[in-house]
Amino acid sequence: MSEPKQTVPKPIAGVSGYIDDRIGAGNFLKRNLRKIFPDHWSFLLGEIALYSFIVILLSGTFLTFFFKPSMAHTVYEGSYAPLRGIGMSEAYKSTLEISFDVRGGLLMRQIHHWAALLFVAGMMVHMLRVFFTGAFRKPREINWIIGVLLLTLALAAGLTGYSLPDDLLSGAGLRITEGVLISLPLVGSYATFLLFGGEYPGFDVIPRFYTLHVLLIPGIILALITAHMILMWVQKHTQMPGKGRTEKNVVGAPFYPAFMAKAGAYFLFTFGVLAGLGTFAQINPVWLFGPYNPADISAGSQPDFYMGFLEGSLRLMPAWEINIGSYTLPLSVIIPALVPMGIIMTGLALWPFLEQWVTGDKREHHVCDRPRNAPVRTSVGFAGITFYGVLWLLGSNDELSVAFDVSLFATTWFGRIAVIVGPIIAFLISYRICIGLQRKDADVLGHGVESGVIKRLPHGEFVEIHVPAREDVAAHLRGKKEIPSLEAPVDERGIPAPGVRGLIGKVRLTLNRAFRADDIPLEEGHGHEEEHKAIGAGSGHKADH
């Protein structure tokens, strides 16, 4: 009992001492293993993407052992009877072999595909969390940009990945890719020939997509993920507002052992869900689609979900085109392919800078906003979700039409209107909800919470006694930060400050006012007195303001 606390068995102490003397990792580990991580369920959402990516790398490596990225023509004589004797590419044939003849091949294919879906979905929910809590603000703008790049690369990884089996369904996606590329003004035909090495589909596209899919894109993704993690580590994780949490500290559990155990458990959860889906839910049954033939197309040809918004915009777009001489500008392809993606991806990338410009907020933020406390940002977010969601939903309008027995044209027209009106309605509704929730917070702080104690007043009226909110709840609510004002004092000659002069300055000022409008101040202590008086005097009602 009186022995020194730090007794380490000699073999371990010797080895670790040897390594430490040469690499000097001891200090580094000591510092970093004690790194504090805040605890909130939504902070784990990004890990879904991280762990899915690990599963993708492992299962993908397995698949490369058996997949033949070749468009060479061959005839299938394998174990799937309904395709025997059919001509197809080596790529499709080897995918069939992975599915039916390689031990564990189908499971690996399915886990790989499900992991790809959860990779993108995980990134999306993580991105929404970061957006709505304002965790992209200074100093994390660069990490946000890396995140947007990762999302874009994930879409590219998905497209190049699901095209590889050269089946009929993915061929439809490849054909759309070609259509978009060739629709580009001036460079379209050259770009198409560059990608496909000649006329569509040619023999080059599958090997090229393969290199992109297994080498270049995952390489960049891996590098960016590393940068993402290092930046997160160095800048420390944001935390939700709460008791004892400031811009200067991080309240939570140390990386080792607490957070490491949680992260490890969460990896196993992710792996478990992926393995479960891969085992029990069939995904991308390429043997049912048949080999790709540019002349064939199936009903219900949809891309994977993350491309659904592009599919939807293509389906909603009216058949517009401009003909100048012998040149055609197919607006019906260019607009749906580039505009929604441009709005969403560019909008995401620019938002932190736009918001900073409007609010003039140069402070560092390590404490998250609650979504209600930044009503404009939150409402823009929901408008974006609605825009994306309508496009995504209408990408499956044929399935909706059959499943819910509505006319196909009706769904198209619904989508055309909803894609414009929907975001506006979503903005207004979420704005009002944010304001309502802010009022509720102000009410909780100002008047307390319902205690469940009913008091009868002398004249017979019943009132419920309110008690001050619990300390941690109140601290959470008080985390609200004021949005800075650009309203500069006008000097004695009535000239406004330089930043808000001119047209752009006025726009900035107007936006700044909009950002701050309806900000509900927390009415600390304001209501208590009144309420007690009400109870005491037996006259008033419970907070009617």
Binding site: S42, P82, G85, L118, G290, N293, D296, I297, S401
Partner: protein, 286 residues
Amino acid sequence: MKSITARRRHPLARYAVLFLALLLFGGGYAFLAPVGGKADASIAQGANAVDDIAEGKKIFEATCASCHGVNAEGTAMGPSLIGVGAASVDFQISTGRMPAAAPAAQMPRKAIAPVFELPLDQRKPGQPTIDTKKVAQVAAFIQSLGGGPTVPTDADVDPATGNAAKGGELFRANCIQCHNFVGSGGALTGGKHAPDLGKASAKEIYEAMITGPQAMPVFNDSVITPQEKRDMIAYILAVQNQPHPGGASLGVIGPVTEGLAAWVVGIGLLVLAAIWITAKRRQVND
């Protein structure tokens, strides 16, 4: 009787008796033979055709004429049936599409109308309840009006004589743009849809190809030969009945349901797991 008595010694009487006897046996045989075997295979043939047509006309007038007109000439409610053929009648009635419940863009497959079901005492457990004789009579009536494709025989539609792989190629080239890659169905314009082929029998698929019901085009024998039709039937029945090696089929309609499963099951479970993992600490604190 008096005239027969007077003429039974007529020199031609023996020939008349012989003729009547032949007619009785011949007609009797023709009447009884199809009952024993392929009832639907010999419509509009044999000496009973006239009876079948008459009987069919009666059923038609009672069941179908309100929309298709008394002489099947068509009305504002339903198209003319002259020339659609017996195969069309057999398809529409045996899939329950006709008689229709109400006019609509497209008639859905449904249970066979009671009028075309066997009486309760003639039904056998495990056997279809459709009254093939009645259907055949209506088919014979429609066939008599203007010809058209006849009902295929069992041999015509036997999937065992088809090559599924070859049929798959034809199926992909001709059918899946509406019916989806395994025939799960899909949407068409104007409130119509290409139905799920999962419930269709070999004979119904064959009849649909030769008659082109509703929005479907006709694939006659010069476009798709009877052998090719059997190839396609073999493929459709093979993929419809094969097990799904990857687990739950998710409706076999492509990536839409896969995306739904990824979000609802995948993200749903992982969010619950995240809440669970991070909630533990809070309980200890409280």
